[in-house]
């Protein structure tokens, strides 16, 4: 890609990165683990927009989710029964609530303070199972929700959360991956055009367990999914993937936070985004914290954005803090670029029209992430959804 700004460890100037509009963004140096956390909304100051957490978001469109009373009653979900997994509701007083993390910002705490019941998805089978939970009935009212996903020790499974329809939602998703378990969690945002969705994911990953986590954001007006992964025991690993396609006026944000707590833990972060249309704005902030006891950490994070038209903005900020000297590797790469003219020329010189060549290149660019999902039907469907996005975007050109 043109204008490729790739860097590997050791980082250049800490906390400085190039963004699409060629300005330089400063990340305040802060120890992520030292950030204030609370489950109670009143413990947080009112949001002003100056906070780093809110710096990029169009606050006027989501501020109410940080302060207004949210309807925390359960909203119907759809899921087929599968062997090796259960889907149900648990009470907010249930001991399993709060086992994976605590809110770091006000919208998350506001949701935590107000939800009534949590959706509980539990994977127990040792044969890989796939649970699809469709959520399409949130509607326009300001709501909160809470989800707990648990993988029993040594279990294997895939949990797919599919979001469509209207939403005006702040929520928390807890993910607990038991010892030796291999869990895939995919969250797909295909909301209606006016939907607003702020979501915090908190995951703890146990000894020798692996979490594969995939965020796919294609639809909605403001969609933010910020996952925090705590590698709390030896041998824990996480593969954090993201794919987003922002059209005119859409704002998609994701801030994966990898917290290497225990020794010999491994993380891979790979997010790819495409932006097309005036006002399309995406934000990726990748925080990696390698704690004082995380000897033998192996970590790499990257974010790549493909800019398809004028008037878009992609912010991409990798941020690495290392508190132990004894690691295997820690690297990062971030790039924002336009179409590679040579790729387009090659395809066109084989008779393929410019429009189709562009679609092929974008699909190819995003395919790396799609192919990580591991659910054939979802992979096919997302491929088609992206094709449809591209056709729509091209028709609107």
């Amino acid at each position: 890609m043109a204008a490729d700004t790739t860097a590997t460890a050791p980082a250049p100037a800490p906390g400085i990165t190039e963004v699409a509009d060629r300005q330089t963004a400063f990340v305040p140096v802060q120890t992520r683990s030292g950030r204030f956390t609370s489950t109670s909304v009143d413990d947080f100051e009112a949001v002003t927009g100056l906070e780093f957490e809110w710096k990029f978001a169009p606050l006027a469109r989501v501020k109410h989710l940080t302060e207004a009373a949210l309807d925390g009653s359960p909203v119907e979900v759809h899921s087929a029964e599968v062997e090796g997994a259960t889907v149900g509701w648990i009470d907010r007083a249930d001991a399993r609530i709060g086992s994976a993390g605590t809110p770091e910002e006000r919208a998350s705490a506001n949701a935590w303070s107000s939800f009534e019941k949590a959706l509980h998805i539990r994977v127990t089978g040792e044969e890989a199972s796939e649970v699809v939970v469709r959520r399409d009935s949130f509607g326009e009212a300001a709501r909160s929700a809470h989800v707990v996903i648990e993988a029993a020790p040594n279990s294997r499974g895939t949990v797919i959360l599919e979001q469509t329809g209207e939403a005006n939602l702040s929520e928390n998703v807890e993910i607990v991956v038991g010892e030796g378990a291999q869990l895939t969690v995919v969250t797909v945002q295909e909301w209606d055009d006016s939907a607003r969705h702020l979501s915090s994911h908190f995951a703890t990953i146990g000894r020798d367990a692996n979490l594969r986590h995939v965020i796919v954001s294609l639809g909605g007006e403001v969609v933010r999914v910020n996952p925090a992964f705590h590698l709390v025991e030896q041998g824990a690993s996480v593969d954090s993937f993201g794919l987003y396609f922002a059209d005119a006026g859409q704002y998609f944000e994701q801030r994966p936070y990898i917290d290497h707590v225990a020794a010999n833990t491994r993380s891979r972060v790979n997010y790819k985004g495409a932006l097309q249309g005036k006002g399309a704005h995406t934000v990726w902030v990748g925080d990696v914290l390698i704690g004082p006891h995380a000897d033998g950490t192996d970590s790499y994070e990257q974010n790549r954005n493909l800019v398809l038209s004028e008037g878009t903005r992609a912010d991409s900020i990798p941020n690495l803090e290392i508190e132990t000297g004894n690691i295997v590797g820690a690297g990062h790469a971030s790039s924002t670029g336009r179409f590679d003219d040579e790729q387009l020329f090659y395809l066109q010189s084989r008779g393929i029209s410019e429009e189709e060549a562009r679609r092929l290149v974008v699909r190819g660019f995003l395919a790396e992430i799609i192919s990580q999902i591991g659910s054939a039907s979802l992979e096919t469907r997302l491929g088609e959804a992206i094709e449809a996005e591209l056709l729509r975007a091209q028709a609107g050109e």
Partner: protein
């Protein structure tokens, strides 16, 4: 009889130092089934000629024409030229991440023919061309040119040549970087295309060795952006032995 006719072609590129004239009036006519070798020193404009024929946006046509059976190609987009029957095997084929060879080939074939190929026949053609070019089946699922060796990239170009069946092909140093076996395999592919479809070829090369397998009807010496001399196959042998000094003295390059 198809004819590709290049007349007084003048091409420039934008450089940091300003516009740079590269092709200074190229005249060449290639008839159906003919093979024309183009040889010339580095930087003389051979690739520029190839790219200009294919329509690469970096190269600006200042004058002249390129017609295929009387139809002007220079007014057409890159993909239109390909659909009209032109093909360029590139000196440095680009990688296309995330696009598999089989998807790419099927998409290209569909675009060229104006309809999707019948599945059965297509798979059969693909299989037999790949087998003939000694390309393992696993290449179908690999991304276009990604991680291919130099020689594999060149075979992939010839695979496309065989499957897309153009009327005229420009082969830009398809022989460079090939070992003896690969050179034979690739040459056989070119000859098959010639035999099966009456392909006309502009073969750009520095070496005589490919011309032992792909026999040229004409050899053109390309110097400083134009054809300085033409002759038969014997000219290639002479060029390989004597170099280009004879032409460079009289033409003041750079």
């Amino acid at each position: 009889m198809s004819v590709l006719k290049i007349e007084d072609l003048q091409v420039s590129v934008e450089t940091e130092q300003g516009t740079k004239q590269i092709l200074r009036g190229v005249d060449l006519t290639v008839g159906e089934g003919e093979t024309h070798a183009i040889m010339g020193p580095n930087g003389s404009g051979k690739s520029t000629l190839a790219y200009a024929i294919a329509g690469h946006p970096k190269y600006h046509v200042e004058g002249g024409s390129v017609t295929l059976d009387g139809v002007e190609m220079l007014d057409k987009t890159v993909d239109e030229r390909a659909r009209a029957g032109l093909f360029l095997a590139m000196q440095y084929p680009v990688e296309i991440p995330g696009v598999s060879v089989s998807n790419f080939l099927r998409t290209a074939k569909t675009a060229i023919d104006g309809e999707a190929p019948a599945i059965r026949g297509w798979i059969k053609d693909l299989d037999s061309s790949m087998t003939a070019l000694r390309m393992d089946k696993s290449f179908r699922e690999r991304n276009v040119n990604e991680g291919f060796s130099g020689g594999e990239k060149k075979r992939n170009e010839i695979l496309q040549l065989e499957l897309l069946k153009p009327k005229f092909a420009v082969l830009d140093e398809t022989d460079s970087g090939l070992d003896v076996d690969a050179l034979k395999i690739v040459s056989e592919g070119v000859n098959r295309a010639k035999e099966n479809t009456g392909l006309g070829i502009l073969l750009i090369t520095h070496y005589n060795r490919i011309l032992r397998y792909v026999k040229p009807d004409f050899v053109h010496v390309f110097v400083a952006g134009r054809v300085a001399e033409q002759g038969g196959p014997e000219l290639a042998v002479r060029l390989e032995n004597e170099g280009y000094d004879r032409f460079l003295e009289s033409s003041n390059v750079g």
